[in-house]
Amino acid sequence: MGSFEFLLDGIVRAFELIVTLNPYILSITGVSIKVSGTATLLAAMTAIPLAFALSFVQFRGRHAVITLVNTGMGLPPVFVGLFVFVMLVPAGPLGFLNRIFTPEAMIIAQYILITPIITGITLSAIKAVPEPIIETVYTLGGREKDVVLTTLLEARFGVITAVLAGLGRALAEVGAILIVGGNIAYTGSVGGIGEGLSYTRTLTTAITSETSKGDISTSIALGIILIAIYLFVNVAAGFFRRQD
């Protein structure tokens, strides 16, 4: 295979697949966005209030929770995958939910993975809000509620950055969702790739399985889409960071 022919062929074919809106590739992209988007939404709804609680409410075990959050920011995806897998298999403690190898199982895994990340970044965004601003709110007769709202307003770009960081991590992650989702595509052949529409197959898990089948061009197409989405998320994150 001299002169990297296979690579050029792969890239050309990849663009073909993308431009012609290949249904297999589209369905995979859809599952990726749906799963990671939902996980990020749920994680943000937990993480942001949690970060505010950790910043403003004094309670026993607060430092322990912060340590837990910091540790959680570096959780290895495969471990989270394994954990959710053993919980959700029918033989496991949450087996009765009957959710293993479903998009919901993937959402749960990514939720666990990125909640600490969003919490951690939000925490530092809140910490970065200048003390005098908060004091001013109190001086003007503001209550706790006003302080929280003011802080949220002041830290908004940091909070958005946190959410986008979580989304980026979720989209790029493969270890956890491969284990709990099973990389399932439905039976059938769409768009000439020999696979049916995606059920729990995402851009990242599909790259692993297509590469192992030796289908480099499909993998490259998936990779290009993944990078494009990831780039978009990061450009957005960068935009908000500059605003901050």
Binding site: T38, L41, L42, M45, T46, P49, A53, V57, V89, P90, A91, G92, G95, L97, N98, R99, I100, F101, E104, I107, E144, K145, V148, G182, N183, I184, A185, Y186, T187, G188, S189, G194, E195, G196, Y199, S209, T211, S212, K213, G214
Partner: protein
């Protein structure tokens, strides 16, 4: 503040339960198959599943893994039926009561593939243990699946028959599926054991060639299907699993298996067990 959290928690709960409720296609019944990479990568399973879906108003969800993991998945109740190729592990799992109705579907033979110039000289050997013995003796690179799959189990059995415990830098375990293993062996110009079907399906993507295949005793590769025991996991779709097992062993499907691959690879990938 308290009310705020209550509201957030309520929203969370409703969202999560909303997610959980969104089970697709209630009209058709889903059957979860846990299977080995060779049935997936060769494309035969997809063809058979399509036939089954059309005939039974079913939707099949296939998880492709190595046989070891495929059996483990079934043993934990996360599949309804498993379709695998490691007789010893299958029988152990059946004895444990994890599976019932183990049924013989098809077979083919493993092949030893490697670089065309065959530096270990295995072409001239008489049987598989002798062939692997030559590779070990000359310390030629050998890539092992290392994933407790059917192929990996077979490889270990051949080493044992050859009375060799492979070790050293020439013996590398990758812990991956068949396709990945062939790709790795291709890059390293190494030997590896492959099922015939996956090798043929990937033939145009690798320069490795079949160097040894005549050993009917050691390279035999039978595939069995078995249903997850409903007494262990009452939620499994046992009736559907039995339909699937009967389907795989029906004359029509056995004929499809007999012919699969003839047009694409000039030779069939599997031999049906029953016709």
């Amino acid at each position: 503040m308290k009310r705020f959290y209550i509201i957030v928690i309520l929203i969370l709960i409703s969202l999560i339960s909303g997610c959980l409720d969104s089970t697709p296609d209630n009209a058709t019944e889903e059957l979860r198959i846990s299977t080995t990479s060779s049935t997936c990568d060769t494309g035969i399973l997809d063809l058979l599943n399509k036939e089954f879906e059309n005939a039974n108003n079913a939707k099949i969800l296939t998880v492709c893994q190595g046989t070891g993991k495929a059996i483990a998945t079934g043993e934990m109740g996360a599949a309804d039926v498993v379709f695998v190729h490691a007789p010893a592990s299958e029988l152990t799992a059946v004895e444990k009561g994890s599976f019932i109705n183990r049924t013989y579907v098809m077979y083919n033979y493993f092949v030893i593939i490697g670089p065309g110039n065959d530096p270990a000289g295995i072409r001239a050997t008489e049987n598989a243990p002798e062939a692997l013995g030559m590779i070990a003796g000359k310390e030629q690179p050998f890539i092992s699946r290392g994933d407790d799959s059917g192929t990996h189990n077979k490889e270990k059995a051949i080493w044992m028959a050859a009375n060799i415990t492979p070790s050293g830098t020439w013996y590398q375990s990758v812990g991956k599926g068949m396709g990945d293993t062939i790709m790795t062996a291709d890059i390293r110009e190494a030997y590896t054991l492959s099922d015939r079907g996956t090798y043929l399906a990937m033939k145009d993507k690798t320069k490795l060639v079949i160097l040894f295949e005549t050993d009917k005793e050691y390279l035999f590769n039978p595939y069995h299907v078995m249903a997850v025991n409903p007494e262990k996991f009452p939620d499994v779709k046992y009736d559907m699993s039995m339909k699937y097992i009967n389907f795989l062993t029906s004359t029509e499907v056995q004929a499809i298996i007999r012919d699969y691959g003839k047009d694409k690879f000039d030779e069939p990938l599997f031999t049906p067990a029953l016709i």
